[in-house]
Symmetry: C2
């Protein structure tokens, strides 16, 4: 059996039309989360799954969804331990894809953004490559002993931060400021605003967890 390639999660926060032109959107499974469902349907896309407490979705739309897609709708109470995006992530992980791409997930509510960053760990720990694709930022996490290749793109800056107290063996190749087996500790954000100078940059890590943020103004 060929492993499913991509699951796309469209969640709250800022969603833009640009995200619809992402490669291979047609070939993946699409999960709409709460207000992301509204947004997808307004853009002529019916998600494969609908997840959320739907406390911020149009009630008429919700009734229509429940009627036509009853087997694809997962409604959760609004007071629960997990966020809606976390529930969507758990559904996505259960589909065992190679990649999970979260569109949206960033915006003015920093608490939601940080929660979404934590959720990336759940995918990576299941050996699924995952990314939050926001308007001004693309966010990944890198686990111990792993490496990631980042393509040079219109996200001009690549910053790395320790996501655990200490990260060690941080190696950056293809970057303006390369690094060999560096150590970083929380509280000292010296990995801000690096740039990829080759076609792509590779980040690898021996121990700890690294947060990788590509940004543009």
């Amino acid at each position: 059996m060929t492993r499913l390639k991509n699951v796309y999660i469209f969640t709250g926060g800022t969603l833009t039309d640009e995200m619809l032109s992402y490669n291979n959107l047609d070939e993946g499974i699409i999960i709409g989360v709460d207000r992301g469902v509204d947004w997808l349907i307004n853009h002529g896309i019916t998600p494969d799954y609908f997840v959320g407490d739907f406390d911020s979705i149009d009630i008429v739309l919700l009734e229509r969804i429940k009627k036509y897609y009853s087997n694809k709708v997962k409604i959760y109470p609004s007071e629960k331990d997990e966020t809606d995006t976390e529930l969507a992530m758990q559904l996505a992980i259960s589909l065992k894809p190679q990649n999970i791409i979260i569109f949206g997930g960033t915006g003015s509510r920093l608490d939601h953004v940080i929660a979404n960053v934590h959720i990336l760990l759940q995918a990576e720990r299941n050996d699924i490559s995952s990314v939050i694709y926001g308007t001004n930022n693309r966010i990944r996490v890198l686990l111990s002993g792993k490496s990631k290749k980042i393509m040079k793109s219109h996200f001009s800056y690549v910053s790395i931060f320790p996501f655990t107290e200490v990260v060690a063996g941080v190696t950056l190749e293809g970057f303006k400021y390369p690094l060999v087996k560096g150590v970083m500790k929380i509280g000292f954000p010296y990995g801000v605003s690096n740039e990829i100078v080759e076609d792509n940059g590779t980040i690898s890590l021996d121990t700890g967890i690294l947060l990788i943020i590509e940004s543009k103004d």
Copy 2:
């Protein structure tokens, strides 16, 4: 000698007029950072110190500042290990105040936001209470064995996240969802969107470091 009460850092990101009505702004020391200097001067406020590489400030303004405030201007090269806000934080710490309040510091560049969150640790480790006061978020960190009181305010939601791999002995009092000696681990953001139901909420912690984010829509 009475200890200096407040140092205010006005930095890049989103700055709003509301921030000027903050209590006791007149009585504290004000540090302008790079574009924050522009913003302050446009609002009729001359900072006590000017910090940055000033790569994004009006050149005429910069020349005027250098002429009149030469002893208060700290210009750094634009390629350096520290961010401008970190240099301002180090200056603020050297003044040994009780509190450091960073205005701005949040915005669309998540890498800058995360860098600023890390920088808060430098103040707290020097026993200086510190906060990033953004437009939609107020951000603090809480060190091992410490507690913080958060006043109920127009920031409706209070979320907590582990900033180290594990945090233990997390106790929340005065909250809608209280907690006694809880344990949190990175990857599981179950502390999102709590609310203060008393006049104030108290958060205390035995081990690890906690990230506290108040948010509003």
